[in-house]
Symmetry: C2
Subunit: 232 residues, 2 copies
């Protein structure tokens, strides 16, 4: 993973995003990365992000679903929702920060100070614009659905004109973006080695339970293959 | 769960937080709640929040650990980190939005439009202040540790003076706060009932794997009782 010790001389390549002043952390820089494949992998493993924007000068952070198509992220919502209304139609867009976080483990050190969490996160800074092109909007909504359940978009009724009109979609380009991650075990002070506390990592697991059919699911409609993952 | 259809006449009670203009959603108001026990339960089940603040006019959203003590939340970080530096020492504090989200299920409707997610979230608006009182700081750090792993604070070496000085703690009062949640199955349009798509809910599970001892864990130190939960 490329590191960014010299952001002023860095530049974007096919393999990595260019670090900027606000994507270079003020501390723990060795945990930051700009590798495109790493960023995409972290984004693709989750489907809920936390979207921040400024309203009346104050920050607002709301959880929302997202999808990725290449170097673009899409979020959607009711045309009446606050961020979607704020983003308006194209100009000037909405300054946002979109953050995705996976927690992979709890790191229990002998000292309280060195307790930590293993995680992988992506922070995207940028301006979100409402998607006005209908084809792009449909493509984005399919991407959103397939991001949550791969294969589902083709196995559901597409939005009709009324539903499409009631849905707003925001596009956010992946340009000013960084990943940050911590892996591995505790980093205790050498002088604490003899303390009697258990030390190690508790893995955090995510998974799915057995799908629960809706009460009115017609007989004969079987669970689709894309939902037949092993349960957690 | 009390609803807030008339926020202008609502007021805080022991049982509920008072709705405000920015804690009443513009849509899906029936999903919003202000019940204190509900808010606390959602906060206590998670330990990672997404903290939003404004820097140079733009939103920033960072994942961070938190703890709760009554109607106060605490987050911590290096004294050199951006939000902690921005919060300064007491005055004027830092305007923040702290959001916690649990995803409980994927809701697969017959129509793409009615796909949804079952979730429980809490959004806290307010001003975060640096904790300067050393006793409160120690108490907050213990609460943070015990929030992630209940019982762990007493089973680790407390921070020494140097570590305490390197750690900044922010306090955020729970006052302007709301919960939002969705539960239940898909809400398809009646005319879609005959469509051949599987419909229902895929439960989302969270859990822990088997704890992995650090390489240098001394023989004879057994896994503490507070970590002997059933694995996921």
């Amino acid at each position: 993973m490329p590191l960014a010790h010299e952001p002023s001389t860095a530049h974007a390549t096919d393999a990595a995003y260019a670090p900027t002043e606000r994507t270079v952390p003020t501390r723990a820089r060795e945990r930051a990365g700009y590798d495109r494949a790493l960023v995409h992998a972290i984004l693709d493993e989750a489907y809920v992000c936390h979207l921040g924007f400024v309203r009346d000068g104050a920050p607002v952070v709301l959880p929302t679903l997202y999808g990725r198509v290449g170097d673009r992220l899409y979020v959607h919502g009711s045309t009446g929702s606050r961020p979607l209304r704020a983003a308006g139609r194209q100009d000037p867009g909405l300054a946002v920060c979109l953050t995705v976080t996976h927690v992979d483990g709890l790191v229990l050190a002998r000292s309280a100070f060195h307790h930590s969490v293993n995680y992988r996160s992506v922070v995207v800074h940028g301006t979100a614009y409402q998607v006005v092109d209908e084809d792009e909007k449909r493509m984005a909504l399919d991407a959103l659905t397939d991001h949550v359940v791969p294969g589902r978009a083709a196995d559901s009724r597409p939005a009709n004109a009324k539903e499409l009109a009631a849905t707003a979609v925001l596009r956010l380009d992946l340009a000013e973006v960084s990943a940050k991650l911590r892996t591995g075990g505790p980093n205790d002070e050498p002088e604490d080695a003899g303390l009697p506390h258990w030390t190690g990592v508790v893995p955090v697991r995510r998974g799915y339970g057995t799908p629960v059919p809706a009460d009115d699911l017609a007989e004969g409609i079987e669970l689709p293959a894309y939902l037949r993952e092993p349960a957690c």
